[in-house]
């Protein structure tokens, strides 16, 4: 609904401003004017602060060292190096989306969509990346994975082209991105072209991903394990129903050699190559590059291939005008895991699960042979184009205009042949398109008065147009395993029966307009203050117009080193105190919250949620299962206050940075339970407040500094304390999906029953002296073989009121420990990262012991992957309860399965040798050449009994679905000409 005026002004802005620059450029070329130097002298207030922040090691990353470690994901690189990050990954498989929390989170993780609300924004050269939108979860009954290729978009970044990565945690620095900065910003700046030099950069590496050892077991092991329970507790009826595949010890499929790991795990090669060339003169220069990276997982033939290309052109057509264009593209091709859970949740169909995959290689070959016809193509294409023009109107005033378009195109083509799917083939086709148009224009003024006072003022506006859309088609029962095309026009020549085909499409448009102004002042670079005021209007809350949100932010610093008492200090080289405050609004991800109550299609039931019609007639009802949203929903926001200081001592041999922060998320909207008698489960209300507070410390010291040998260790420590301050309405706690949050407690606690052992006989079960009844679990009396759970409130009933909040998903203390050694031309960098004070629920073991409720049932819990036939964890930790008891003795949410997940990992060790000084290379004008060898993820120190303490899902469960993070060994070469 945009009228002519806005369309006109949009087009005008997009075209006219840069066009006017270009006109000047053409004019300039014609005049052959002498070109002045780079126009960075007149910086805006924001840029001043940026320059200042560059020196703060707490947020920056040394890229030249970083590209020697073959990580494909930016955050994996930052782990342990940069404070403030909590990186949660559920698997070592490359390309799977992960969760990055910057300075804690205010999101309550209770379903698959939750993590989308907590992610930081990745900004590449000032353009925020556009990522997948969670609205595709609405059409699927299971939220295990998002439909589509579901590949981590941040994997497209080619680290070889990156000049610096900064994590913007303080709102004073990131306020320029508006509401996109609410969860923090990871700001990536790529290399600008080099003028007058002509540089060629070539980086290559080659390596091996080493598979871990899997201790495999076959039916004999499982038989022995289950017999303990059958002998102790099973009735004859249950014994008669013993699973058939475990009863015949002579058949080779289940009792033969358990060598399935030879097919499933493998060592794989990884490679990476990148080439870039830049050149030109001062007045016009360019850089062009291509890159490729192949990352491979060690299980189930998973992998991720990435291809990049970029072209950057920088021209100074006339004096004072600089135009920079950057066009870059990336293609991701992911080979996904073919787990049964992934397949069945995509198909929304469960075949008969009573006979699991056999652990024997020969029997499996029959299955995998047919799997050759399975096709799963996952592609992401990402294109970004931007134009930045800067014009110095005078030596004090600069105008800057940025226009960019970012496009993501994601497809998945998935076909499951009938031969491995109980005779019914399945096909699904997903195509998604995300597009962002981003424009930012600003004018700034900077002046130095009396040589001491520097004032800078800037004014600007931003426009952002986002469009997300997808088309998803799925069909069952194709005619043959060789026909993978859905054709259902009319009733002739169809390849699929039309009643077996479902098509979904959806799109969301979200736009934002912002205006901002900033004022900065510093006195001799001793004291400085910057204030930015901005207002953002978002289209997502449309109530009688738009919902504008006002965000102020400020930064101040005091450079004590410039003070008289420290000027001449020999001990202290640099001491800066800084503080900042910012308030940023949070935009909703969906568009439905600003309209008050409405009607939608919501007549489904579990297992069939998308049936939209009754007797073929379309329906519209209140959104009963989704929740009620009334009028008056307002913008949630976050306020942060931070204080820090930077210290360098002893000739810059010791560098320390300490920062304290307090972040308060206010007015968050959350689904609050309402009485069920109105048909709704919940309603959306504003009013949740969460506070995150913490300290971040980073310290590096150059301990040994001789002519040939240097040793500089460093440590980063960060803490985060999370607390729920308020809930909407009068609620003091909310329960959802077996999790509870209570005011005064963190939002990442587990909610558990406390185990105290086992009742070996009925007599041991306590009796309520008042009523004479035995201790019961939700009304079911406990008997021999049931767990001893603590009756916290002493009411002789074990129920939700006896569950306690315990444990944390996020670590209490985490960080990294690095050591850098250099001897002549050799250098060795070793990085450990550690996380302490976090807990994991080992639901993989809980599920193994809960076999009675899972064996062959027609639900997702009945799925047995091929990895079922491996021995993980510590079986002796758990008592032998009666698995058939109705009290559900092996439920995952009890302290029995809560384990400490603290760990320290050797993330990377790189040994490199710099050959640049060798005469042979110097003669050939090779300015830099280094060879290196790196090992990643070499070992883990942990007490956790499962496979890897780092691999948990968003709710803190170790489900066993995480593929192990492989050890990789690579050798590589960095060449600069």
């Amino acid at each position: 609904m945009q009228n002519c005026y806005s369309l006109f002004s949009r087009k005008l802005l997009a075209i006219a401003l840069p066009l006017s620059f270009l006109m000047l450029a053409v004019e300039g070329f014609a005049q052959d004017v002498k070109v002045a130097g780079r126009t960075d002298t007149v910086g805006s207030a924001i840029d001043t602060l940026a320059k200042f922040s560059d020196k703060r090691k707490i947020s920056d990353l040394n890229i030249s060292k970083a590209i020697q470690t073959p990580f494909s994901n930016v955050v994996q690189l930052l782990q342990g190096n940069v404070t403030g990050l909590d990186y949660r990954r559920s698997t070592g498989e490359p390309g799977v989306p992960s969760s990055t929390l910057i300075r804690g989170t205010s999101t309550w993780f209770i379903n698959g969509k939750s993590s989308y609300y907590a992610q930081p924004t990745y900004v590449i050269d000032g353009i925020p990346m556009i990522v997948e939108h969670p609205f595709a979860f609405d059409i699927k009954p299971y939220d295990y994975e998002r439909i589509g290729p579901n590949t981590d978009i941040s994997s497209i970044i080619d680290l070889n082209d990156v000049a610096s990565i900064r994590v913007l945690k303080n709102y004073g620095e990131s306020a320029k991105y508006g509401p996109l900065a609410a969860n923090g910003v990871i700001e990536i700046t790529t290399k600008r072209p080099y003028a007058n030099q002509g540089k060629v950069l070539f980086n290559t590496y080659f390596g091996l991903s080493q598979k871990g050892s899997a201790s495999t077991v076959n039916g004999a092991f499982e038989n022995d394990f289950r017999m303990q329970f059958y002998n102790k507790y099973a009735s004859p009826a249950l014994k008669a129903n013993y699973p058939i595949y475990l009863s015949d010890a002579s058949q080779p499929a289940y009792f033969g050699a358990a060598n399935w790991d030879e097919l499933y795990y493998s060592n794989n090669y990884i490679t990476g190559n990148s080439f870039s060339i830049s050149g030109g003169k001062q007045r016009a220069n360019f850089s062009f590059g291509v890159g490729q990276q192949k990352e491979a997982g060690t299980a189930d033939k998973t992998g991720l291939d990435r291809y990049n290309v970029f072209l950057k052109i920088n021209i100074l057509p006339i004096k004072d005008l600089e135009i920079y264009t950057n066009l870059s593209g990336a293609l991701l091709n992911r080979k996904r895991n073919q787990s049964l859970l992934s397949r069945f949740t995509e198909e929304e169909y469960l075949p008969d699960l009573t006979t699991p995959l056999p652990p024997n290689k020969d029997q499996l070959n029959v299955f995998y042979g047919n799997s050759e016809k399975l096709s799963d193509v996952n592609k992401n294409a990402y294109l970004q184009g931007q134009l930045i023009a800067k014009y110095n109107v005078s030596d004090k005033i600069q105008i800057r205009s940025l226009s960019a378009m970012v496009v993501g195109d994601n497809t998945r083509e998935y076909f499951v042949p009938a031969s491995i799917n109980e005779g019914n083939s399945f096909i699904s086709y997903y195509t998604g398109f995300n597009r962002r148009v981003y424009m930012d224009n600003s004018i700034s003024y900077a002046n130095t008065l009396s040589g001491a006072h520097r004032i800078s003022v800037a004014l600007g506006q931003t426009l952002r147009y986002d469009k997300y859309k997808y088309d998803y088609t799925k069909a069952y029962r194709g005619p043959s395993d060789f026909i993978k095309v859905i054709k259902t026009n009319g009733y002739q020549n169809n390849t699929f029966d039309p009643t077996m085909v479902s098509t979904y499409k959806d799109y969301i448009n979200q736009n934002m307009t912002s205006f901002y102004g900033s004022i900065g002042y510093n006195y001799q670079e001793k004291y400085g203050i910057d204030v930015m005021l901005r207002t953002d209007g978002s289209s997502t809350l449309y109530q009688n117009g738009t919902s504008w949100f006002f965000s102020p932010s400020a930064n101040a610093y005091w450079n004590l080193t410039k003070e008289d008492f420290l000027q001449s200090s020999k001990l202290i080289n640099n001491l800066k105190l800084y503080t900042g405050y910012g308030r940023i609004g949070r935009t909703f991800l969906d568009n439905n919250n600003g309209y008050g109550p409405g009607y939608t299609v919501d007549i489904g039931w579990s297992g069939s949620q998308n049936i939209p019609s009754y007797a073929g007639i379309p329906t519209l009802s209140l959104p009963f299962s989704k929740g009620y949203t009334g009028f008056g929903v307002t913008t949630p926001y976050t306020e942060q206050l931070n204080l820090g200081f930077e210290l360098s001592m002893l000739n810059n041999r010791i560098n320390a940075n300490i920062e304290l922060y307090s972040k308060a998320d206010k007015n968050l909207a959350i689904q609050i339970p309402v009485p069920s008698e109105y048909g709704f489960n919940n309603r959306l209300l504003n009013g949740m407040n969460v506070r995150n507070q913490g300290i971040e410390l980073s310290l590096t010291a150059l301990l040994v500094h001789t002519k040939d040998f240097q040793w500089s260790p460093g440590v980063t420590i960060q803490t985060n304390r999370n607390k729920l301050i308020a809930l909407p309405g009068n609620a003091t706690s909310i329960i959802s999906n077996n999790r509870k949050i209570t005011i005064g407690k963190p939002i990442d606690n587990y909610w558990l029953l406390q185990n105290e052992g086992i009742y070996n006989s009925d007599a041991e079960v306590p009796v309520n002296p008042g009523t004479g009844k035995k201790l019961s679990y939700n009304g079911i009396p406990l008997t021999a073989g049931d767990p001893k759970w603590k009756d916290t409130n002493q009411d002789f009933v074990i129920d939700d009121q006896d569950k306690i909040l315990k444990g944390h998903i996020s670590p209490i203390l985490s960080g990294g420990f690095s050591n850098n050694f250099s001897y002549k031309n050799f250098s060795l960098n070793v990085l450990f990262s550690y996380a302490l004070g976090r807990d994991i629920i080992n639901s993989e073991m809980a599920n193994r012991f809960d076999f009675a409720n899972r064996e062959g049932v027609d639900k997702l819990s009945g799925i047995k992957e091929i990895t079922f036939w491996s021995k993980t964890g510590d079986y002796t930790k758990y008592p032998l309860y009666n698995p058939w008891s109705s009290v559900n003795p092996y439920q995952a949410d009890q302290t029995l399965f809560l384990e400490n997940g603290s760990y320290a990992k050797l993330r990377s060790a790189t040994l490199s040798y710099d050959l640049s000084n060798a005469a042979w290379f110097k003669k050939r004008k090779i300015s830099g050449i280094r060879v290196y060898a790196t090992g990643n993820n070499l070992f883990t120190i942990t007490n956790y009994s499962g496979t890897d303490p780092e691999l948990v899902n968003y709710m803190g469960y170790d489900t066993g679905y995480g593929m192990p993070i492989p050890r990789t060994y690579t050798i590589g070469l960095n060449l600069t000409l």
Partner: protein, 501 residues
């Protein structure tokens, strides 16, 4: 300098003009707002059929209809599923996800809320769209009131004491206390009778209550799927029977049976009963009201049908069904010879399609098997309907009411209508108690697996014989279901059932 100036001005102008508010006016694509709804006749159609759709969801979620009506009655035994097994053992406090869903009444209240919404808002459509006449409004209101009455009837039979909510909420979620079961039943009865007045016998346009075409659908398309006069009378009869008011029950049954030519109802042949295209396709001359899941409308589903639990090989690739009727129960239930539904011949062969593979340890209950696709390979999507009322059941209810009113010949006549349709000999006795027992037994045979058994046990006061509950338990409320803890937690005015506390 001139160009510089020109350029600065352009820049500044654009700076101001670009932030156009219209760019922020983006409509939602997944919600129809309140001001856009209730404008045209199709809005009324969407809202009314949404009420049917929500009723379907409430009854098919985790096979709720079957779980409430059949499992506790003890006719079915469970082979593997622990949660279903807990229900058959009256162990309703057991901790299972599906158990929590069965104890949660939210879905029934969603039907009621949507019905309340329709009652309040449908008159708006008559004001906004001339094509939606007063007659259309009357008919739609009757439909919606019938569904609401049916929902309250289920709530009362399953939970007993439930809150009575008769008006749309409008965002005010006040906690309401439970009303007594009697009040709820009285409301259901009055609503059913009121709805019956405005509902036609059939939707063929020949009845004063419904002229022309109902939303463009023909009589055949709508047969048995939506509310009719007979359905409303059937509901009124059942409410009355539950209340113990057999006079009203008999009257309402008589209205259905004696007017069966109006609705075109008759007893179905036994082959039709067990055929995939027969009674349980949901549409037919013996079905008074059913919930529809036709595959041709893409409303068939994998979950929510009884076949999911009862079928196994050769019909679907599953070794053993989740639930089955054990052999000795079958022979006890079907103890009369020549029963066309199922009978055991002298030589050991079986007749009838109620059960298949009788020789197996767990015979398969194959009475209801309505797969969406009939060709191999088997695709486990089912389109069987949930039959709420059918003609044979009303005949048996009439017989039951008659016997309580001492009209023995009437009772025997109606009982024998069903018996002869199933190839059984006619029954006769001079003892009312014996006749009642025969009716009770006949209900068990005819309606096996259709969600009646547990309610029959309660109504006939025979719960003690067929379950482990004692008189004391029953007096304490054991025959009703407990309320789920989520529902209790959401409304502080609710009180858990005494027995399940």
């Amino acid at each position: 300098m001139k160009t510089k100036l020109l350029f600065i001005i352009t820049g500044l102008l654009l700076l101001c003009g670009a932030g156009c508010k219209k760019a922020l006016d983006v409509n939602t694509t997944s919600l129809v707002t309140d001001d856009q709804m209730w404008k045209v006749k199709n809005d009324a159609r969407s809202a009314v059929f949404a009420t049917y759709g929500l009723l379907r969801a409430a009854l098919s979620n985790e096979n709720a209809f079957f779980a409430y009506g059949e499992l506790r009655g003890g006719d079915f035994k469970v082979s593997s599923r622990q949660d279903i097994s807990a229900v058959t053992k009256q162990d309703l406090n057991a901790d299972y996800g599906s158990m929590a869903e069965w104890k949660d009444w939210r879905r029934f209240y969603a039907v009621i809320a949507q019905a309340n919404l329709c009652i309040e808002k449908l008159p708006l459509v008559t004001q906004n769209d001339f094509r939606y006449r007063q007659e259309d409004l009357k008919l739609d209101l009757a439909n919606v009131r019938f569904i609401r009455a049916l929902s309250y009837f289920y709530l009362a039979r399953i939970w007993g004491k439930v809150p009575l909510i008769n008006s749309a909420a409008e965002g005010d979620f006040a906690e309401k206390p439970q009303a007594s079961e009697a009040d709820v039943l009285a409301f259901a009865a009055s609503e059913a009778t009121a709805a019956a007045i405005d509902l036609p016998w059939r939707y063929n346009g020949l009845w004063p209550e419904q002229q022309g075409m109902y939303y463009g659908q023909t009589d055949i398309q709508l047969q048995s799927i939506i509310a009719t006069k007979a359905a409303a009378y059937a509901l009124a009869a059942h409410v009355a029977a539950w209340q113990g008011d057999y006079a009203t029950a008999e009257k309402n049954c008589r209205l259905v049976v004696d007017n069966n030519s109006n609705g075109g109802y008759n007893t179905a042949a036994t082959s039709n009963l067990t055929s995939p295209n027969g009674v349980f396709s949901g549409q037919g001359y013996s079905v008074i009201f059913s919930i529809n899941f036709a595959a041709k409308n893409q409303e068939a589903s994998i979950k929510g049908h009884v076949e999911d639990w009862t079928l196994s090989e050769p019909f679907i690739p599953k070794k053993t069904a989740d639930i089955y009727v054990p052999k000795d129960s079958i022979t006890k239930i079907f103890n009369e010879p020549n029963d066309a539904r199922f009978s055991l011949a002298a030589d050991g062969s079986t007749v009838g399609d109620y059960f298949t593979n009788f020789s197996n340890a767990a015979p398969m209950f194959s009475k209801i098997r309505n797969l969406s696709v009939s060709q191999i390979p088997v695709f486990k999507s089912y389109q069987s309907a949930i039959v709420i009322f059918r003609f044979e059941e009303i005949l048996l209810l009439r017989a039951e009411a008659a016997i309580f009113l001492n009209f023995r010949s009437d009772a025997l006549a109606n009982l024998n209508k069903v018996r002869t349709a199933r190839n059984l000999s006619e029954f006769s006795s001079t003892d009312n108690k014996v006749v009642l027992e025969a009716i009770f037994k006949e209900r068990r045979r005819e309606l096996l697996g259709e969600g009646w058994r547990w309610y029959d046990l309660i109504r006939f006061k025979r719960v003690k014989e067929f379950s482990k509950l004692t008189d004391a338990d029953i007096a304490n409320g054991a025959t009703r279901w407990p309320v789920s803890k989520v529902v209790l937690g959401n409304n502080s005015k609710l009180v858990q059932n005494n027995f399940w506390h």
